[in-house]
Symmetry: C2
Subunit: 197 residues, 2 copies
Amino acid sequence: MFEPPIQRLVDELARLPGVGQKSAQRLAFHLLNIDEPDARRLADAIIEMRVQIQLCQRCFNVSASDLCTICSDGRREPGLICVVERAQDIVVVERTQEYRGSYHVLGGSISPIAGIGPEQLRFRELLARVEAESINEAIAATNPTVEGDATALYLARLLKPLGVKVSKLASGLPVGGDLDYADEITLGRALIGRQQL
Amino acid sequence: MFEPPIQRLVDELARLPGVGQKSAQRLAFHLLNIDEPDARRLADAIIEMRVQIQLCQRCFNVSASDLCTICSDGRREPGLICVVERAQDIVVVERTQEYRGSYHVLGGSISPIAGIGPEQLRFRELLARVEAESINEAIAATNPTVEGDATALYLARLLKPLGVKVSKLASGLPVGGDLDYADEITLGRALIGRQQL
């Protein structure tokens, strides 16, 4: 329909998550109409990121060097580890400024439907770290989903026998939210986890 | 916040129309997590498009060569020209399979608010074509907006004295739409343009 070089870009853009055929066309023509250096900067940023970013050899966070900025930071609390599904979850936990330990990226969550068991995730690497780094506390910061909860439970079963204290993030009402809008599962968990005043 | 190569890509993605900060982060991590050749294909498609696509020297459509596929097609009806705001509008008109003439891309619409007058658009090039190609009919396929209508009106004032028949696309109810959902301006135009049965 479009000239082949445009159609190829439309096809590539339409592969991106949340980008439909129509948005892909709009984006392609935007990239055609802006100044060439601006379009080139986006292409370069993709390539540069793929060239420069690797996985941290210790925690599997995204990193521009062998060890990520958190693992290279000598002031982080030793013995405490926060286990997340994906690297991008680390930034979210960091933003709270409530956590000072290290991280471990599993690379996903246990999902029998998607055929992902513990052996497809980085539990082996985690076990090695628990031993090598004398970890005594682990926090499962997995998503509040069936898969995330199953992963947290698996983590607890794996680490508790080794004497590691394991917890998971509290479920409850989002701060600033409205009770009216809370679904019954969230509200149920908020009740079970109610805090003494 | 993120490692610099990731943050740079997030920033570039967030410049795209309709892509917010959060979507840009999600897209950047998607491009980090997929296979490297897949990410590289998107970057290459952007560069390739910018290198290969130019403007047709006759109608200013996007083109992989000096003349676009429509201008190179000897079977198109001579003397008839369809004036559009942007190159991407040509594909939309072509899809109707109701038009067999040539096109002319103005490069936008007259908008005093945005500081765009007729001299910023390709009216001069259009006048040259009207003379050189003995154009006797022009259709303004501009957007049904204040700016698009003003542009169509300007086109009519410019070409009518030269003996060119000028029309613009009909405004009215979208086919398959619901009368209930039509805004009053569209419905008003549908009434004014009512067709004898």
